[in-house]
C-alpha cells in the first residue's frame, strides 16, 4: 500500500485515494477541430512509462480533490505530488 501525499491534506495511505491515469492529457478545447486520429490518440494512447510517470490521483475518501504525482513505475517511489493545473516540478529545469 502506497503512502501518498495529498497536496491539500498531507500524507495518507493509498486506501483513501483512487487512481486517475496519466496526467497532463488535456481535453482539446474544440474537439470538432481535432482529426479522427488525434481524437483516438487523446482517448486511447498513453505513454506506458517505465520510470518516472506523471499521473493523476484523487483523494476520493478525503478532500475529494484531484492532484498529480510523479511516480517511478519501477519502484513505486513517489517523487513528488502537486496540485492539478500545476506543471510537474522540475519541468523548468
Amino acid at each position: 500500500m502506497l503512502l501518498i501525499h495529498c497536496p491539500h491534506c498531507g500524507t495518507r495511505p493509498e486506501l483513501e485515494f483512487s487512481y486517475g491515469g496519466e496526467a497532463h492529457i488535456a481535453r482539446p478545447a474544440d474537439p470538432s477541430q481535432v482529426s479522427d486520429d488525434d481524437w483516438a490518440s487523446y482517448l486511447y494512447l498513453r505513454s506506458n512509462t517505465k520510470g518516472v510517470h506523471a499521473e493523476r490521483w484523487r483523494h476520493v475518501r478525503g478532500c475529494g480533490r484531484f492532484f498529480n504525482a510523479l511516480r517511478d513505475t519501477t519502484t513505486d517511489r513517489i517523487l513528488v505530488t502537486y496540485k492539478a493545473g500545476e506543471k510537474p516540478p522540475g519541468e523548468a529545469r
Binding site: 482517448l43 480533490r65 513505486d76
Partner: protein, 1002 residues
C-alpha cells in the same frame, strides 16, 4: 528419556514432558521441542508421502524452508490445519498431528505405485501424457491425479477462531532476531529509535541457537542472546514480536507480519485471537533474515533420514536430539566439518565423511581423520538404500569420463548433506530491490535497494559470527540515523569481541552446478518431486529461460517456493545450457514467504461483517410485506412480494397486472441522486450530458443520457431543473458513485473555471414510486392541496410541496408506461410516508412490487437498463436514444467520438425486440443469435439477447437484443441456438406495449 535424546544440554525443559500423538500413536517430548525434534527424539523419521510419486519423506531441515515434513495438526473437527511444517510446529501437551497424502497408511501407501509408472510422469506431464484421448481427461485422469497428488485437506467446518489485525508504525523494523538482527536492534534502540523486532521462531538467536561454542563479549551465545533480549524488552521504545513471520514486503516500507498467538498453547485462553496480522509502516527496514542451507542433489537424496547438516546441528544443540548414530556426511563446503565434530562428540559415529570438492589433502580432512573419522575428498554419493528410512549409501569417485570408480556401500541410519548457505533474499526481492550475482559465493545477494531498506548479516552474504554482528550493528546505527534524521554514526563501529573459536562458514569453492550427481531420483525440488532428469528434459525440449523451465517442470512452485531448490535448479539449468547463471535469470520471489492463513487476511471481515449492507429507509416496510430481497451492489432491494406461497413467476405476474390495472408502489430510493448547483450548472449539464438543458424550464424534467468521451453510453436517468441554478440529477443505482466521480473529474480538471458544485444526495432522499392508472387518485388527497392534475403537473413535471406536512419533491415520471409519480421525501420520513401511501391506496388495489416486476414492466415499454442492455460499447443511436442528443450543441462529452466513421456504420449492433415463435419460450439472457438455421460451429454470431421475460400483460414472452444491423432486420426470422435446439425468433420493435404512449398522458 527417549532413545535419541541426550541426557543434558539444549534449550528444552526436561522438567516439562509433553505427550503428543502422531498418526494416532502416542509419544513424549519436552517443552521447547518442535514436532520435528520430538519425533526425531522418538526415532521417527518417516513423516509423509511426496506430492507426485508418493515416496516416503522425512525431515530435511529445521526451519521454515522445510519442503517435505508437512503435517496436519488437529485440535478438533473445525481446528484442523493442513500443510504445516513439522519443523515449525511447537509441541504442546496433547498435540495431535497427522501425516498427509498417504493411503491406507503412512508406512504402506498404494499410491507409491505411481513411482513404478514414473516414466509416465516426466516434466510437463500435465501438458503431454494426459492430453489424449481428450474425453478421458475429465473422467479419468484429472480425478485420479487430484486424488493421488496433493497435500493435506482443509477442514469442512467454519473456522471458529478469532483473528486480529493491527497497524503499527516505527522508525526501524528489523526482520530476524539472529546475531545481525539483535545487534541491529540493540544499536538502533540505543540511538533512540522506535524499534520493532520480529522473528518467526519462539526463541530469538537465529543461528546462535545451534551454537554453544561461541563467546560474545565474554558471554556464551545463550547468555548474550538472553541479555540482549532482556535489554530490548525493557526498553519502552522497542516492541519484540516472537512467532511472527514477515511474509510480505509491500511498497513504501509496509511490511506484512503474521503473528501466531495460540497455536503453541495446549489450552488457548478463550477470547485470545489465534493469529494477529500486523501491517507495519517503517521509516527504515533492516532485513536480517539469514541464510538457508542447500541440499546436495544425488540419486535417492530424498529418503527419510537424509537431512541438511545445519539441521542436524540445530536438533543436536537446540533440542538435544541425536538424529542418528551411524552417520554419513557429504559436503561441498566447510560448514559440515563442525557438524561432524559436534555429532561425533555427542556420541554418534561418523562412519564416512566425504567432501565433494576435488582436493583430497585438505587440512580439515586430516584433522577429522585424527578424530578417527573415515574421510576423503573428491567422492560422491551415487545411490542410497532403505525404504521408510535410509539404511545405507553407495559412494564412489567419479572419473573424467563420468564413470564411477572405487564404488562401495556403507551402512548408516543418517545422511547429512551440505550444499552451502544461500542468502535469504526473499523479502529484499519482494521489495523490488535488484539482486546481484556474487561470482565468488555463487549466490544472489542484495544489490541496489528500491525501498528505505538495508540488509545485514548472512542474508547479504556476510559469513562468520563476528562479521555478522558488526554488520548488524552498523545497519542498526545507520537505519536509526536515517529514520531520525541525525548524523550517520554507523562508521563508529561498536566493538564485539568474538571468540576466534567460533566457526566461520566459507563459501563453496567448487562450481555449485557440479554438486549435482546424475542418476535416477536425484531430487532438486523435494516438495514437487522434480528431479535432475526433469530439468534435463526441459532443456532438451528447448526451454531456455528459467521462468519457462520452472513452469514446465513445476520446480520451485510448491508451497516452499523453492527455498531449497531454486538455486540448484538454476545452476544445473545454466550448466546444461552452457550459460552463465545471471544470463539464465532468476525467478521472481513472491509473497508470502511462508503460507499465511486466509483467516488472518479476513480478520473480522467474515459473515455479517464481510461487506457493509445498505438498506433503504423503507426496508422494514418491505420486510413486513414479505419481500424477497436481492443484492444490488451493497444495497438490499425488494425483488418481489410473494403472497400465499406464490413462486416468483406467479408473484411477478400478479404485481405486473396490478400496476397495469390499478396501481403499484415501489421503493426507488437506491437510485443515485446528485445535486448540481451553481451559476454555471446549466453550462456544466450541457457539457456533460448529450441533452440540451438550456431550454429546460424550472419545474420540468428530462431523460438524460451520459456518455464517456469515447462516445459510449455510460449512464442515464431523469434530470429535473428545480431552480434556475439547480439540477436534481438521478443516476442508475449502480452508477451513482462513478457518475459523480466522472463529473468531478471534468469539473476539477477540465473546466475548473465553471462555478458549479456537485453533491451526492442519494441518501438524503427516500423515493417512492406510485405507478398505475389509479396513482393520482391515491396521491391527490395526501398532498396538502397541491394540484397534481394532468394540466397542473403534466408528464415530466416536477413540483415541490408537502405530503401530510412532510416536505416533498414530486416527479411525474414513469418507468412502467403507466401514469406515474415519484415521491421524494427526506430519508428520515420515508418509512412514515410509504406506510401512509400504502394505507391510502389499499382501497384502490395498490400493490407493492419489486425490482423483478419493475424489469418486466420497463422491458414491455422498451426502456433499457444500463449495464444489462448496454455493455460499454453501444452509442445512443445503437440503443435508439439518438433523439435525446441536443443537435445544436457545439460540444458535450462523447460528441466528437460519435463522429468517428466506425460509430456511424449501419452494421453496428442495434437494440431490437425479439418475439419467439412459440410464445411460451422465454429466451435466456446472454444467448447468442444467428441469422440462418442449421449452422455448425463455429457459427456466425450476429448478436445476443440482453433482456428476456414472460409478459403476463401481453400473454407471451418478450425479449430485447443487440443485433448487427438489427433495425434493418425488422420482421426477419433469426435463430437462437441452444443445447435443446434452435429457437426461431422474429425481430420486432423493442416497444411491446402501448407504443403511442397513450397511457402516460392521462
Amino acid at each position: 528419556m527417549s532413545a535419541w535424546r541426550l541426557p543434558s544440554g539444549g534449550h528444552i525443559d526436561r522438567s516439562r514432558p509433553l505427550r503428543f500423538t502422531f498418526d494416532g500413536r502416542s509419544y513424549t517430548g519436552y517443552a521447547g521441542d518442535t514436532l520435528a525434534s520430538a519425533l526425531l527424539a522418538n526415532g521417527v523419521h518417516l513423516l509423509g508421502r511426496s506430492f507426485k510419486y508418493h515416496r516416503p519423506r522425512g525431515i530435511m531441515t529445521a526451519g521454515p524452508e522445510e519442503p517435505c515434513a508437512l503435517v496436519t495438526v488437529r485440535r478438533d473437527e473445525a481446528r484442523c490445519t493442513p500443510n504445516l511444517r513439522a519443523t515449525q510446529v511447537e509441541l504442546h501437551e496433547g498435540l495431535c498431528a497427522y501425516s498427509q497424502n498417504r493411503w491406507p497408511s503412512l508406512a504402506f501407501d498404494v499410491g507409491q505405485i505411481a513411482e513404478w509408472f514414473s516414466a509416465l510422469l516426466p516434466a510437463g506431464f500435465y501438458y503431454k501424457t494426459f492430453m489424449w484421448p481428450r474425453s478421458a481427461w475429465h473422467k479419468l485422469y484429472e480425478p485420479l491425479i487430484r486424488r493421488t497428488a496433493g497435500l493435506g485437506k482443509a477442514p469442512k467446518l467454519a473456522d471458529p477462531d478469532r483473528y486480529a489485525q493491527q497497524y503499527a508504525h516505527c522508525d526501524v523494523l528489523i526482520v530476524g532476531a539472529g546475531p545481525a538482527g539483535l545487534a541491529a536492534a540493540q544499536e538502533a534502540a540505543a540511538r533512540g529509535a522506535r524499534v520493532i523486532l520480529c522473528d518467526e521462531r519462539a526463541h530469538s538467536g537465529g543461528s546462535l541457537l545451534a551454537d554453544d561454542r561461541a563467546r560474545i563479549d565474554g558471554q556464551t551465545s545463550a547468555e548474550w542472546v538472553d541479555g540482549t533480549m532482556a535489554q530490548l524488552r525493557a526498553n519502552p521504545r522497542v516492541r519484540v514480536l516472537q512467532r511472527t513471520t514477515a511474509f510480505g514486503y509491500f511498497p513504501h516500507n509496509l511490511m506484512g507480519l503474521s503473528e501466531r498467538l495460540t497455536d503453541h498453547l495446549a489450552a488457548p485462553p478463550p477470547g485470545l485471537a489465534r493469529e494477529r496480522l500486523w501491517q507495519v509502516r517503517a521509516r527504515e527496514v533492516i532485513l536480517a533474515t539469514g541464510a538457508i542451507e542447500q541440499p546436495l542433489v544425488f540419486p535417492g537424496n530424498d529418503r527419510p533420514g537424509i537431512m541438511l547438516g545445519g539441521a542436524a546441528l540445530h536438533y543436536l544443540k537446540h533440542h538435544a536430539v541425536l538424529p542418528g548414530r551411524r552417520v554419513v556426511v557429504a559436503t561441498a563446503c566447510d560448514s559440515a566439518y563442525r557438524v561432524a565434530r559436534a555429532l561425533q562428540a555427542a556420541g554418534a559415529q561418523i562412519v564416512q565423511f566425504i567432501d565433494l570438492r576435488p582436493q583430497t589433502d585438505r587440512p580439515a580432512l586430516a584433522a577429522l581423520r585424527e578424530l578417527g573419522i573415515r574421510c576423503d575428498g573428491d567422492l560422491r554419493i551415487v545411490g542410497t538404500r532403505g525404504s521408510n528410512r535410509v539404511t545405507g549409501v553407495d559412494i564412489a569417485r567419479i572419473d573424467a569420463t563420468g564413470a564411477a570408480r572405487e564404488q562401495r556401500s556403507i551402512d548408516c541410519d543418517l545422511v547429512l548433506m551440505s550444499g552451502g548457505y544461500v542468502p535469504s533474499v526473499h523479502l529484499f526481492s519482494q521489495s523490488r530491490g535488484r539482486l546481484r550475482y556474487d561470482e565468488t559465493l555463487q549466490v544472489f545477494v542484495p544489490g541496489e535497494s528500491a525501498e528505505r531498506e538495508r540488509s545485514a548479516g548472512a542474508c547479504r552474504g556476510i559469513a562468520g559470527l563476528a562479521d555478522a554482528l558488526q554488520d548488524g550493528a552498523r545497519a542498526g546505527a545507520a537505519a536509526a540515523s536515517a529514520a531520525l534524521g541525525t548524523a550517520d554514526a554507523s562508521a563508529a563501529n561498536p566493538a564485539f569481541t568474538v571468540d576466534a573459536a567460533a566457526p566461520t562458514p566459507e563459501p563453496l569453492d567448487v562450481p555449485r552446478a557440479s554438486v549435482a550427481m546424475h542418476g535416477p531420483k536425484a531430487f532438486v525440488d523435494f516438495q514437487h518431486d522434480v528431479t535432475l532428469r526433469d530439468l534435463d528434459l526441459a532443456v532438451r525440449e528447448g526451454f531456455r529461460s528459467i521462468e519457462h523451465i520452472k513452469r514446465y517442470t513445476t520446480t520451485g512452485m510448491a508451497t516452499d517456493q523453492g527455498k531449497t531448490s531454486n538455486l540448484n535448479a538454476l545452476h544445473h539449468a545454466a550448466r546444461e545450457l552452457g550459460q552463465a547463471v545471471p544470463a539464465v535469470g532468476l525467478t521472481t520471489f513472491r509473497m508470502p514467504y511462508t503460507p499465511v492463513t486466509f483467516a488472518s487476511f479476513a480478520g473480522q471481515a467474515r459473515g455479517e461483517l464481510f461487506d457493509p449492507v445498505r438498506r433503504t429507509p423503507m426496508h422494514d416496510w418491505a420486510v413486513q410485506h414479505g419481500a424477497v430481497f436481492e443484492d444490488v451492489g451493497l444495497w438490499k432491494r425488494a425483488r418481489y412480494f410473494p403472497r400465499d406461497n406464490e413462486d416468483m413467476h406467479a408473484a411477478v405476474a400478479r404485481e405486473c397486472r396490478a400496476v397495469r390495472e390499478h396501481c403499484g408502489i415501489f421503493d426507488a430510493s437506491t437510485l443515485g441522486k446528485i445535486a448540481v448547483v451553481g451559476p454555471d450548472a446549466v453550462e456544466f449539464m450541457n457539457r456533460m450530458y448529450v441533452n440540451e438543458w438550456s431550454k429546460l424550464a424550472v419545474g420540468r424534467s428530462k431523460y438524460g443520457v451520459l456518455l464517456r468521451d469515447d462516445g459510449f453510453v455510460y449512464d442515464d436517468g431523469v434530470v429535473a431543473r428545480v431552480a434556475a441554478d439547480r439540477f436534481h440529477v438521478t443516476t442508475t443505482t449502480g452508477g451513482a458513485a462513478r457518475v459523480l466521480a466522472m463529473m468531478e473529474d471534468y469539473r476539477q480538471t477540465e473546466w475548473a473555471d465553471l462555478k458549479v458544485w456537485l453533491t451526492s444526495t442519494t441518501e438524503e432522499w427516500a423515493v417512492i414510486a406510485l405507478q398505475g392508472p389509479r396513482a393520482r387518485d391515491i396521491l391527490a388527497p395526501l398532498v396538502d392541496g397541491l394540484d397534481i392534475s394532468a394540466a397542473a403537473l403534466p408528464h415530466m413535471g416536477v413540483v415541490e410541496g408537502t405530503l401530510q406536512g412532510v416536505p416533498m419533491l414530486l416527479f411525474r415520471v414513469s418507468f412502467t408506461g403507466e401514469l406515474g409519480f415519484e415521491v421524494n421525501v427526506p430519508a428520515a420520513e420515508g418509512a412514515k410516508v410509504i406506510a401512509a401511501l400504502h394505507a391510502a391506496g389499499e382501497r384502490f388495489g395498490l400493490t407493492p412490487y419489486g425490482t423483478e416486476t419493475m424489469h418486466v414492466l420497463r422491458a414491455e415499454k422498451g426502456f433499457i437498463i444500463i449495464g444489462q442492455d448496454t455493455d460499454g460499447t453501444v452509442t445512443p443511436d445503437d440503443v435508439g436514444l439518438a433523439w435525446a442528443i441536443g443537435k445544436s450543441k457545439r460540444d458535450f462529452v462523447g460528441k466528437r467520438a460519435l463522429a468517428r466513421p466506425s460509430m456511424q456504420q449501419s452494421d453496428r449492433k442495434q437494440l431490437v425486440g425479439l418475439r419467439t415463435r412459440d410464445p411460451h419460450i422465454v429466451l435466456e439472457e446472454g444467448a447468442q443469435i444467428v441469422d440462418t438455421p442449421g449452422q455448425r460451429a463455429p457459427m456466425t454470431l450476429i448478436g445476443h439477447v440482453t433482456s428476456s421475460y414472460a409478459s403476463a400483460t401481453l400473454g407471451h414472452s418478450i425479449a430485447m437484443a443487440v443485433i448487427a444491423g438489427g433495425r434493418a432486420r425488422m420482421g426477419h426470422t433469426l435463430y437462437v441456438p441452444m443445447p435443446g435446439g434452435e429457437i426461431p425468433v422474429e425481430v420486432c420493435s423493442p416497444v411491446f406495449y402501448d407504443p403511442q404512449g397513450a397511457r402516460l398522458n392521462v
